[in-house]
Each structure stands twice: as structure tokens, then as C-alpha cells.
């Protein structure tokens, strides 16, 4: 269905090819998952399928990309619309009309589909995506998951044999992500759609994939069966890491498969005490109350964003703030920061608060990284060079000098992870006692997330109180010692991470689902436990 033949592509003004000599084939009806770190060319590969690369982006393409018998050289994206449905990373940015029905009909209108057929197809799409009750709603009033489903429905309205999705779940909470993915998978199974999808959080989709297209970062694409490729892949979901650790063969990709082969491991671990993920506060340090939120209520017009929220934050701790989209997580962070004034109640802070907002780039406005750093020093009356030193510390990765940020570069040209590091450095320049991070893992690959986890742990070690609002359950399990779940503006749950995460069906990390009911959260924990001498019941080491 899709064939890349010796395809190479170079962006205009770039000396290095984004993709180099790619040969691959995706047969009809397959689900191909594209995986790789940020900046390895995932989006380029996806956009090449429907001709946006090179017709829309410019640049130089060698070789051929053939979709359903049509070479994308000869046809621009608009002439391929009936063959390839494409949904970009931000579905809301791609909406052309303003109600759900009109959006679903848009592509058909362009294709001059007969009105009677159009009417029928719109009804079918509404049913397929489960959005019939939203038909006349304005698109801007929909939640993220609903928007994603509308965008997918709109892309499928012309009944294309191929669907391309670029990170369909990156902005969604776990439940909404399940929703959107379930809708897509049903289409794959029922209609025999060929699906190409890029996803950072492999754990959400890898077990459904027939084929994995792995981008190691040198412009090549390695294709193969997911189980085989992941055994040696640098990016892997926790279930695969656990499988590698336990030496399972073949490697299980889903929680269900892993749970079945994990019986011996569970028995072996049953005798071992669960080591803590973190030791916080470190021995001898007394947790110090830094922020107290008392009965805070926030309204946006008639909507109550926060409803009498009580919360205490301590030093030396990392709190993961979770909950579905629109449950008040961001509002709570902005309120603690003091930018938004609560309608009632109060926030008491001992010390300074720094906040990294969801769209971190909003904070940046100068031409170079160096200028931003200098400005940050000036703004927070820090000694010159403070921000730069912080940035170096944040981006320092042992044995990998390539990840150092070039100070002369424009902030817009940084990768997602680097930009986050820059904004974090700008905020840390003021030496805050409380650091708030709003959805920092959005668009980050496994390696950047790993590094961010290290940074967060470092902040807590130096006595700061860190709050991370996140949808990413695996990340939350790695970093947090305490989890607060918000729902409809109220605190639903507040307690130790192990307790809250393990008992929740939506927020439990994969390791907990495989090894439950005991509170195992991360692969590292299991590794530590397996390294320590196993004591049998009579107390003798084995």
C-alpha cells in the first residue's frame, strides 16, 4: 500500500538529510508504528506519505514514495486527499470550519461529493467515531479527546485506504487517549485501514502494531516486528524493559501477555520487600511546609475551576498532580504561583515560586539562547552567568557532549526538550523554593523524559518542593513520592504515590499492572530488588 524506494529527503537550507535512503513497505491493512527520539524525522516520514513533504515543506527529495500506486512526486497533497487521511499533532489547529458536522464534510465538499452521499458519509463518521451527540457543537467547545476524534473522522470522511496520525494521544489524559485509540483501532479492524502512526508513549499502542518503524536518528529507518526490534531498541516501554530484565522470550508487548508470563517473577518477588522509589526527605532532613493552600475556589465565568481546594506542599518532595483534561490542574498551579487570584480562600507561600507553563515557548522572546539567559539574570537580580550555568547543568548528559545547547542558536530552533530546559533554567535563576511544572513531558521522548526525571530528583534533593502536573502515568510513577488527583476542581485523592497509583485502573503504571497487587511502580525498583540477595523464609541468603 505504501512503498518508500531509496527515499532521501533534505530540508531547504539543511546540509544533513532528515531521511536517508529509506526503503520500506507497509502492506494493506497493517498498523505501522513509527518510533524514535525527538528530531529523528518521525514527522517528516509521516508527512512524506501524503506528499506534504516535499510539496508543502519544500526541500529536496530523492527516490520515490508510492501510495496506492500513485507516486507523490506527481501529485500534491490535495490530489492525494482521497487516498491518504492525515491528522497532525495539534488537531485543533487543523480545523477549518466551526461545527463538527461541517468539519466532517469539509474534505468531501472539496472533492465535490454529491450532497446525498455526503449526508450519508457524515452520519457514518459520526457513528464510527462515537460523536453523534456532538454534531452541532462548536469545535472550540470540545474537549481534547473529542477534538481528536473529530479530526480523525474528518480525515476519514473521504474513505481513504491509508490513515496517517502524528502523535494522536500526546495532548490527552489517559482515559481520553484510550478513547481515541480505541476508535482508531476499531477502524483498522473493521475497515481494513492501513494505519501509520507516530507515538512517543509506545506503551499505549505498541501491542496493537503489526510493524515497527524505528528511527535511530541517522536518517535511516529500521523496519521489523515490534517484539524483535524492541529487544534491542534504545526506546522501549516499561513492559519491554521489564521483559528484558526478567529475560522473557518472546518479549511480551502488552500488560495482558506480560501478566501471564510474570507468574514466576511475581512469586520470586513476593518474598522481597518493595524498595522505595525515592528516599525523601533524605535522612536527617525534616520536611518543611512551604505552601499552604486553604479552601481556594477559582471561577472562570460560570465554570468553577477549583472548588475549595486544600493542599500542603513540603520541601524535599515531588508531587504529581493528575486528573483528566479540564480538572483544574493548570489553574491550581497558576494560583499557587500567585498570578491568578482566587475568588475565595488563600494561598500562603514561604519563599519564591517558579512555574514552567504548558506552552513553555510563551516565555521566550529574544533572538538567542545567550540573550535569554542574560535577560533572566537581569530580571531576577542574579549574578551574571547564573542562568547559563544552570542551563549547562540541566542539559549535561555524561558521555554525550552533543546535547549541550549552542548559546548562539534561536530558542525556536531548539528541540522540545531543550526549550523546556531553557525555560526551566530561566525560572530557576530566581532560586525558587517551589518549582511548578505544567505538562512538561508533552512531546518528550524517553531519553529526554529520563533526563527530566533526573533534574526533578535533583531539585527535590536540594530541598525544593516540586509539583508536576502530568498525564504521563509512567513518568509520574518514576518521579513522584506523593500523588494528588484532581477531579472537577476538587481533590479526589492525596497520598503516597505507591498507594494512589497502584489502586487506580487509569493511573496505574504498567509495572504495577503486571506485578500487582504489591506496590511495584518502576522497572528500576524491580532491578534493585532482584540485585539484592533474596532471603528465603528461614532467613538464609540464596
Amino acid at each position: 500500500m505504501i512503498r518508500f524506494a531509496q527515499m532521501s529527503f533534505r530540508y531547504p537550507g539543511s546540509a544533513v538529510p532528515a531521511l536517508h535512503a529509506v526503503d520500506l513497505e507497509v502492506p494493506e491493512g497493517e498498523l505501522a508504528l513509527v518510533a524514535g527520539s525527538t528530531g529523528t524525522g518521525k514527522s517528516t516520514l509521516l508527512r512524506a506519505v501524503n506528499g506534504l513533504v516535499p510539496h508543502f515543506t519544500g526541500g529536496h527529495l530523492d527516490g520515490h514514495v508510492v501510495v496506492a500506486g500513485v507516486d507523490t512526486r506527481d501529485a500534491p497533497p490535495r490530489e492525494l486527499a482521497h487516498l491518504v487521511g492525515y491528522v497532525g499533532q495539534d488537531p485543533a489547529a487543523g480545523f477549518v470550519t466551526d461545527t463538527v458536522e461541517e468539519e466532517l464534510a469539509y474534505a468531501m465538499e472539496q472533492q465535490a461529493v454529491a450532497p446525498a452521499t455526503m449526508r450519508r458519509r457524515v452520519e457514518e463518521m459520526l457513528d464510527l467515531m462515537g460523536i453523534a451527540e456532538l454534531r452541532r457543537r462548536p469545535l472550540r467547545a470540545l474537549s481534547g479527546g473529542q477534538q481528536q476524534r473529530v479530526a480523525i473522522g474528518a480525515a476519514l470522511a473521504l474513505n481513504p485506504p491509508v490513515l496517517v496520525l502524528d502523535e494522536p494521544t500526546s495532548a490527552l489524559d489517559p482515559a481520553a487517549a484510550e478513547d481515541a485509540l480505541a476508535a482508531v483501532l476499531r477502524l483498522v479492524h473493521d475497515l481494513g485501514l492501513t494505519l501509520v502512526v507516530a507515538e512517543h508513549r509506545l506503551e499505549r499502542i505498541v501491542h496493537y502494531a503489526d510493524r515497527l518503524l524505528l528511527l535511530p536518528g541517522d536518517g535511516q529507518v529500521v523496519a521489523g516486528r515490534p517484539g524483535e526490534l524492541l529487544a534491542a531498541s534504545p526506546v522501549a516501554p516499561p513492559v519491554v524493559e521489564l521483559g528484558r530484565l526478567a529475560g522473557w522470550h518472546p518479549l511480551p508487548l502488552s500488560v495482558r501477555d506480560a501478566r501471564r508470563v510474570a507468574v514466576p517473577l511475581r512469586e520470586r518477588l513476593a518474598a522481597v520487600p518493595v524498595p522505595p522509589v525515592h528516599v525523601r526527605p533524605p535522612d536527617g532532613a525534616r520536611p518543611q511546609l512551604v505552601v499552604r493552600v486553604e479552601k481556594v475556589t477559582m471561577r472562570h465565568g460560570e465554570i468553577v475551576a477549583l472548588r475549595e481546594v486544600d493542599l500542603e506542599l513540603f520541601g524535599h518532595s515531588v508531587v504529581a498532580l493528575m486528573g483528566r483534561n479540564g480538572s483544574g490542574k493548570s489553574t491550581l498551579l497558576w494560583t499557587v504561583r500567585g498570578v491568578q487570584r482566587p475568588a475565595s480562600g488563600r494561598v500562603r507561600c514561604e519563599g519564591r515560586v517558579g512555574l514552567v507553563p504548558q506552552t513553555a515557548a510563551d516565555l521566550l522572546y529574544l533572538e538567542t539562547v545567550a540573550a535569554e539567559c542574560a535577560q533572566a539574570d537581569l530580571e531576577s537580580h542574579a549574578s551574571p552567568g547564573t542562568c547559563r550555568t544552570l542551563l549547562d547543568e540541566l542539559t549535561h548528559r555524561p558521555g554525550d557532549p552533543a546535547c549541550r545547547i549552542d548559546l548562539g542558536v534561536h530558542p525556536r530552533d531548539l528541540s522540545e526538550g531543550q526549550r523546556l530546559a531553557l525555560v526551566l533554567a530561566v525560572q530557576l535563576t530566581a532560586a525558587p523554593d517551589v518549582v511548578l511544572l505544567d505538562e512538561p513531558t508533552r512531546g518528550l521522548d524517553y531519553r529526554s523524559k529520563e533526563q527530566l526525571a533526573g533534574v526533578v530528583a535533583g531539585l527535590a534533593r536540594t530541598g525544593r518542593s516540586v509539583v508536576v502536573a502530568t498525564h504521563d502515568v509512567e513518568f509520574a510513577a518514576r518521579i513522584a513520592d506523593r500523588v494528588v488527583i484532581l477531579g472537577d476542581g476538587s481533590v479526589i485523592a492525596d497520598g503516597p504515590a505507591a498507594e494512589i497509583l497502584v489502586s487506580s485502573p487509569t493511573f496505574a503504571p504498567q509495572v504495577a499492572k503486571i506485578l500487582g497487587p504489591r506496590p511495584w511502580l518502576t522497572v528500576d525498583q524491580v532491578a534493585t530488588a532482584l540485585r539484592s540477595p533474596v532471603r528465603t523464609k528461614d532467613g538464609a541468603g540464596v
Binding site: 489547529a93 477549518v96 457524515v122 510563551d362 516565555l363 530566581a430
Partner: protein
């Protein structure tokens, strides 16, 4: 037990053009009179129809802003009359001292005696303007402006798309400004207004650029601007004809309005222009291969609505051409305005759509009442 078993009228959205013609009719009627009673009646009619037949979409809620804007127009108009001097009138309300101005401002006076005549004149004038504004606001609240663009002839499809996209960018831009300004507060104090402006403008513009690129990619991927079987030559002919037509129409209209232009530029130019424009539209329209989802159609209710707008406008235009004195009440000396019977009657005709137009579609369907369904099933 006897109950009214007639089902409520089927809701659907009226053709947007019908609402606009109705509203423009009312506005024309309002432009022909300065009788505050008649103008008040027009506003009341607009408000009634809007209250009865508007949907629950965001643009439908903007009607009140037009009312506020109208009130502002009236106040400004009266204030202007007072500030720039009213000159001697028949009844002086307030004797303010006149501010002496240099000679070169001849004809303009500042303050001075305030006469009831002038204040009343300003009031009537402002009220007329405000009424026309409210009429446009009513059209805006009743018909989705974007749907109006959708019912444009196919030749204007590309222009209409550009306008639609521009319209949807505005709220996004406002959102983005708010977000960036909030983020701005996270960084410490900054020096100077220019730095502040820059720190907001740069991220907002970057955001807008990114968004428009994403939108363009999405439109491209969904088949916007497919050339189909249109040839370059055909496109040139169509564009040329349209351009010629527009120039012709402009020249012709100018000729008709200005009596001093030579006759060649009047009727003939207008005719040639119209013909060329129609030809260009047809050619361009034929080449566009696209269809419309659920196109709005003209049905009896649309005709009734348009008629309800035409009747008052035609009648008032006719009456004012004949010089009906009651349409322009005397302000010097001030006299009580009368509400002549015929204009009142025809303006009330415009109230008909409040009942005769179908009720609008709601974006969220009302919850099913299980009791009602049950009753319907058993009777």
C-alpha cells in the same frame, strides 16, 4: 382529557441571506425617518425577533453588544452637539460660556448656549444611526456570518474561504495574547514599554504563524484548492472578465450618481460591466468542482421573512419620497413626535418572522423527556 397534540414546529436554520435581507430592509426603513417612536419600534421589533429566533451559538450572543454600541452612538452624538456648540435655538436649556477659538477654525464653536432643538436633533440623529446598527446586529445574531459566506456563488469560493479563515484566526489571536501575557508575569520586572510590547508581540506572532502553517497543511491534505480539470487559459479568461466587469460597474455607478458625467459612462458602462461580471462569475463558477454540505434552500419561510423586511422599507422609502411630514418631526421649535399609523403598521409587519420563521437548531439537543416519549407512544 384534551391536550394540544400538535407537534412543535420543525426546527431548522433559515437561509442566512433571508435574515440579512430582512434586517437590511428594516435598516433602510429606519434610515428614512427620525421619528423616535418609529425608531424605537424598529429596535423593539429587532429585539423581539432575535429573542424568538436566535440559536445558542457564540455569534448569537453578540446582540447585546450591538445594543450597547447603539446606546453609545446616541450619547456621543448628543455630547458632540453640546461640546461643539449648538447655536441659538428656540428653547435654551443651559447657557454655557462659549470658548473663544482662533480665527482659522472659522465655523467651529466650542460650547456656548445649549438649545433643546440641537440636543433633540442630535438625539434623533444618533437614534437613527443606532437603530441601523441594531438591525445589522440582529442579522448577525440570527444568521451565522460564516454560513452566509458559504452561500456565495462558487466563483467567490476562494475569497470566502480566506474570509472564513481570517474570522477564525481572530479569537485564537485573542486567546494567544491572553496566554502570553499571563506567561509574561512569570518573568521578573522588565524595563520599558518597548520590552514589554516585544515580549508579548513576538511570541504571539510566532504562535499565529505556526498555527496558520498548520492550518494550511491541514487544508492542503484535505483537498483544498484541487485544480480538477481547470486549465490555466480558462482561469485567465474568467479573471479578466471579472476584473473588467468590476471596473465597468464602478464607472457605471459613478456615472449614474454624478449627473455631470457624459452619457456614455452612465447606462452603457454599467450594462457592459454587469454583463462582463456575470460572464466571469459563470465561467469561474463552472470551473470550481465542489459541493456544499446541507446547502441552505429557499422555502416559503425564507420568502415570508424577506417580504417582512421589504414591506416596511418600500413603504417608508415611498412615503419619505412623497415628503410625509410626520416622518421627520420638528425639532425647531421642539414638538411631540407622532407615530403615524401607516409606518407603524408596516414596521410591525417585520415582526412576522418571530412567529413564521422556523425555530433555530440547538447545538446541544434537549434531553429526552421519558414521560413525553411514553405519552406519545400510548396515545
Amino acid at each position: 382529557m384534551m391536550t394540544d397534540t400538535r407537534p412543535p414546529r420543525l426546527s431548522r436554520s433559515l437561509h442566512p441571506m433571508a435574515w440579512w435581507l430582512w434586517a437590511l430592509g428594516l435598516a433602510t426603513a429606519a434610515s428614512r425617518t427620525s421619528d423616535p417612536l418609529l425608531l424605537g419600534l424598529v429596535i423593539a421589533v429587532c429585539a423581539c425577533v432575535v429573542a424568538a429566533r436566535r440559536g445558542d451559538a457564540p455569534w448569537a450572543l453578540a446582540f447585546r453588544y450591538y445594543l450597547i454600541a447603539g446606546a453609545l452612538v446616541v450619547v456621543l452624538r448628543v455630547l458632540a452637539r453640546i461640546v461643539f456648540g449648538t447655536g441659538p435655538g428656540t428653547v435654551v436649556l443651559l447657557d454655557l460660556p462659549q470658548v473663544p477659538l482662533p480665527d482659522w477654525t472659522s465655523g467651529v464653536t466650542l460650547l456656548g448656549p445649549v438649545s433643546a432643538d440641537a440636543v433633540l436633533g442630535g438625539l434623533y440623529d444618533g437614534l437613527r444611526l443606532a437603530t441601523m446598527l441594531v438591525c445589522v446586529g440582529a442579522a448577525n445574531a440570527l444568521a451565522n456570518p460564516k454560513r452566509l459566506l458559504k452561500s456565495m456563488p462558487p466563483a467567490l469560493h476562494e475569497v470566502a474561504t480566506a474570509v472564513v479563515v481570517a474570522l477564525s484566526v481572530l479569537p485564537q489571536l485573542a486567546e494567544s495574547v491572553l496566554r502570553v501575557r499571563r506567561a509574561r508575569e512569570l518573568r521578573g520586572p522588565h524595563r520599558g514599554r518597548r520590552a514589554l510590547l516585544r515580549s508579548v508581540v513576538v511570541p504571539v506572532l510566532e504562535d499565529a504563524l505556526d498555527r496558520s502553517l498548520l492550518l494550511a497543511a491541514s487544508m492542503d491534505a484535505r483537498g483544498y484548492g484541487r485544480s480538477g480539470d481547470r486549465t490555466a487559459a480558462g482561469r485567465w479568461v474568467a479573471s479578466g472578465l471579472m476584473l473588467l466587469g468590476l471596473v465597468g460597474v464602478a464607472a457605471g455607478v459613478y456615472g449614474v450618481l454624478d449627473a455631470s458625467t457624459p452619457t456614455v459612462l452612465r447606462g452603457p458602462a454599467l450594462l457592459v460591466g454587469v454583463l462582463a461580471a456575470v460572464g466571469g462569475f459563470t465561467l469561474a463558477g463552472r470551473a470550481v468542482r465542489r459541493t456544499t454540505y446541507q446547502p441552505d434552500r429557499w422555502r416559503p419561510a425564507e420568502l415570508v421573512t424577506v417580504l417582512a423586511g421589504i414591506v416596511p422599507s418600500a413603504t417608508l422609502v415611498l412615503l419619505s419620497a412623497r415628503g410625509m411630514p410626520a416622518l421627520v418631526p420638528d425639532v425647531s421649535p421642539p414638538s411631540w413626535p407622532t407615530a403615524p399609523l401607516l409606518p407603524v403598521a408596516v414596521i410591525l409587519v417585520a415582526l412576522l418572522p418571530a412567529v413564521l420563521a422556523p425555530p433555530p437548531l440547538r447545538s446541544t439537543p434537549p434531553a429526552r423527556n421519558p414521560a413525553a416519549t411514553l405519552r406519545g407512544a400510548t396515545t
